[in-house]
């Protein structure tokens, strides 16, 4: 008898569990095929207006970093521009350099319930290495660009490196992280630097090593390098910016072009673009609603203010179509430099 009552309670509890399951995101059974789904399955009964329910915002990196912080900033402004008041739930799915969370996004159903903030250069590297299963990042539904940090080259002051010519005089130790390894190797190749790359777990440790003089040089994204130079008490000095234009607040730092370097396509891969995307195959109407509302949020003064306050730069925002181009450019850089990529594996 008692066990019967117990059983009944369990059944009721289970039913309740299903009835009020919070913000249900169905676990995908199959990765969405690249072929478009049948129209009858793809279109939602209430018209493909977005958003219809709470949106999961995947951050494929751990809390506290640039991706996480910027995702949370846009999370606080975006709802102003949504047709329906829903929650944007930031979910950190870190691991394997962003691969775990990014793949989770790519595998999610293309119904607008799952979006994510992605690092196109890391993903392009993974795709070129055949690590993204059969996904093509060019086919994702790109919604917009939260920020773009151009790559900047910073040297240890005591290293005596001042001009591009100095770099080819001796063996140079370049501090890298797994994210910046490829770009730095490409830089060394283009500038014919006799380079020894030293791998660090993350940007803060790399910066400390550069300040100590344990490495001579590093190329990384502008906002983190700017903080590093500001905090270094003169131990770090910026050499040049891998960009066409000088950067706000760094007007005395020359661009690569100005000092006679033709780095061309390195620009696309040296910087850090933070893009928002949805899985491939989101119905056009939903995609438009997503892109337009995000664009509204990115132009909002509140967004800019929050970004600047947090020490980021909101100059280089972009719409979905431009983000598509960014991704395509990055992929083509990788395809053109397969030899550099292969040299890393040896």
């Amino acid at each position: 008898m008692k066990r019967l009552i117990l059983l009944a309670v369990v059944i009721v509890a289970l039913l309740a569990a299903y009835a009020c399951a919070p913000a249900p995101t169905p676990v995908p059974t199959q990765p969405p095929a690249t072929a478009a789904p049948k129209p009858s399955e793809a279109s939602k009964p209430a018209g493909a207006v977005w958003p219809t329910k709470d949106v999961t915002f995947i951050v494929p990196f751990s809390p506290g970093g640039g991706y996480d912080t910027q995702a949370r900033i846009v999370q606080s402004v975006w709802p102003k521009y949504l047709a329906k008041k829903v929650n944007l739930v930031v979910t950190n799915q870190s691991g394997a350099g962003g691969k775990i969370g990014s793949l989770a996004l790519m595998k999610a159903p293309a119904d607008g319930v799952t979006i994510g903030i992605l690092s196109p250069s890391s993903l392009a590297l993974m795709q070129s290495n055949g690590e993204l299963e059969s996904f093509d990042i060019r086919k994702l539904t790109w919604l917009g660009q939260l920020s773009m940090d151009p790559g900047v080259v910073v040297a240890n002051t005591a290293s005596g490196l001042k001009t591009p010519q100095d770099l080819s005089k001796r063996e140079i130790r370049i501090g890298v992280t797994s994210e910046s390894l490829f770009a730095n190797t490409l830089l060394a190749k283009k500038m014919t630097i006799n380079a020894r790359t030293v791998m660090f777990d993350g940007s803060p440790e790399q910066v400390l090593a550069a300040m100590r003089g344990d490495v001579d040089l590093m190329m990384d994204s502008w906002t983190s390098m700017k903080k590093a130079v500001d905090n270094s008490q003169g131990k770090l000095v910026p050499l040049f910016v891998v960009s066409d234009k000088r950067l706000p607040g760094w007007s005395d730092v020359p661009t690569s072009k100005e000092i006679g370097l033709e780095l061309g396509d390195l620009q696309a891969i040296a910087g850090t673009a933070r893009l928002v995307a949805a899985p491939a195959g989101v119905p056009a109407e939903s995609a438009k609603a997503m892109e337009e509302s995000l664009w509204g949020a990115l132009q909002d003064p509140e967004y800019k203010a929050a970004m600047v306050k947090a020490g980021y730069d909101a100059t280089f925002i972009a719409r979905g179509a431009d983000s598509n181009k960014t991704v395509a450019t990055i992929m083509s850089v990788l395809e053109q430099n397969k030899d550099v990529l292969n040299s890393l594996k040896k």
Partner: protein
Amino acid sequence: MDMWLQGFQLALSGMNPLYLLLGTVIGLVVGVLPAVGPSFAVTLALPFTFGMDPAAALIMLTAIQSACAYGDSIASILINVPGGPGTVASMWEGYPMTRQGKAGTALGIATGASFLGGIIGWLSFVVLAGPMTAFAMIIGAPEYFVLGMMALTLISIASKGETIKGLVMGALGLLLGMIGADPVSGITYRFNFGLEPLEAGVEITLGALAIFALPQLIEMLEEGGTIAQQVAEIKDSVVGGVVQVLRRPWSVIRGGTIGWLIGVLPALGTSAAGITAYLVEKNFSKEKENFGKGSMDGLTAAEVGKGACILGDGITSLMLGVPGSVTWAILMAALIIHGVQPGPRLMTSGVLPYAIFAGLLLGQLAYFIIGIFLVKYMTRIVRVPNQILAPIIGILCFLGAYVAKNYVPDIAIMVVLGVFAFAAQRNGYPTVPMILGFVLSDLIEGNFHRSLGVGFGSYSIFFTRPIALVMVVITVVFLAWPWIADAIRKRREATGRPSEALNAITDAEKGQVSTGELLFGGFVILVLLVFLVTSFSYTPDVRLFPVIVSVIGIALTVFWIIGALRTSRITPFEFKGLKPDKGGMPWLATLGMLAAYVVLVPLIGFAAASVIFFVVVVVLSGFQMVEGRWILVVATTIGIFAFLFLFAQLLQVELPVGLLGF
């Protein structure tokens, strides 16, 4: 001085004391839950602080961190399940004390020692922040490598009496830490065996849960009854425990110094602090024979170490802008979002940094006072029947494993690793060295290769940097200490017999080994061989460490097995997996249910799987439904469901919902 006064004034003005209290309460609640630690608690609270003013936000978040790290000790001490990564070592003496009916004292020690550790950390923050920042600046890759090797030698202390098997388990821990992206090229995923979830490596929290919590859960179900079964009544007081801490100034100083130093060095976190402080204390304490049996020295050192480390971590985070721990990385993000940049110039950005320091101290006081009064009520947990408590622990472990990365496959990784740890423990292989190797793996390997890069490929870098050289010397002296101490004693006493210190590191001859011990040894060789063979598909730099570690591991295991076969009597193999010989549920049944739970989560969702797991365990474990105890079961079932529902709804954590698509 004036700024300090203003800082305290700001910290205590307006709503700030309320936020301090709120943070402390949130931290304690999350802390008491096993398996989830401060980084989780702070991440959860982060979005709610965006609208607050910076002082209030930071005061609340740091209060959550401090209180949660303290609350973590409670699960470690009372139920032998790591409350969070910082309190792994607190289990080793705290739980034996609980079993002896001294739970109150143990919790008192945790309260007092965490607090004292916090105070040591805070004072050093105020007095030594400048010089320590400079110190952290000059510690580079070679120094970290030597430091890691120093810490690794603690395995010899962690496995006294079982030194060879301890070293083998240490090697396995090192290899476990090598799973995932390699630290040399950064682009090779090692030992993923074709499985995507392994590419991300194994989280520390996950490893601690697998190695300690799952075996404990199996054991609790095997025994039945309650944790406090032999103890009639818990009468000892929490205040008594605090007094015990004060009577151990040397343990406090040793533990505090080690914890704080580990905190100041950015690459090492609280998990290393507690374990290192504990093991060093084991080496220096006057009551060595009590270790593992409820030594108050050991518990005090572990708790002080943890407490001091948390504040030590803050020094590099705030002064250098280099996160000292995962939790501090999130706290730094909170600062950054509010427009305050951590770094050398933080102290010049007005009164806010002083208010944060004030908040850090007030946070310590808040949990200490609340803890003193409330923690004794927690001891009631040890009277809950194991058949109820164990499945709840299981659910919380699964929850902890999932929320670390919001990743379902991590649950399966935890259970597989847990089964291995359980098998090791049953067959007399110590698991403490395994967690030590695991925690240190990346530090040692990454910094070895980094050092070579910094030194243009030359090994001389380890001997030409003064700090690294001093550390090498300290390590050698530390390892040779038993012999040195012996020599000194002999000169003094002129007796011929080897001293106690030397005895402690030579394994006692047991005279017999079980067949299970030998079989597990064979299995270990097999695992190590798999790692060794796999290593050869990587480039020379990437495979260097895995090859060295697995070869040493295989050699030691073979050496041990040959030694055992030659000198010991072998007891026949006895399979007890299905025999309820301890009165409760046989271990194979528990393993089966854990496996089923793993399969059910992605199929029917987390909440439903958890409820089913709970009920099935309670029913199958032979829980006596007498005297209305079935009401307890029904109430708990509803409670679990309500807890998971609230957890997901209020905290906006998305739990897996299952294939059925509900």
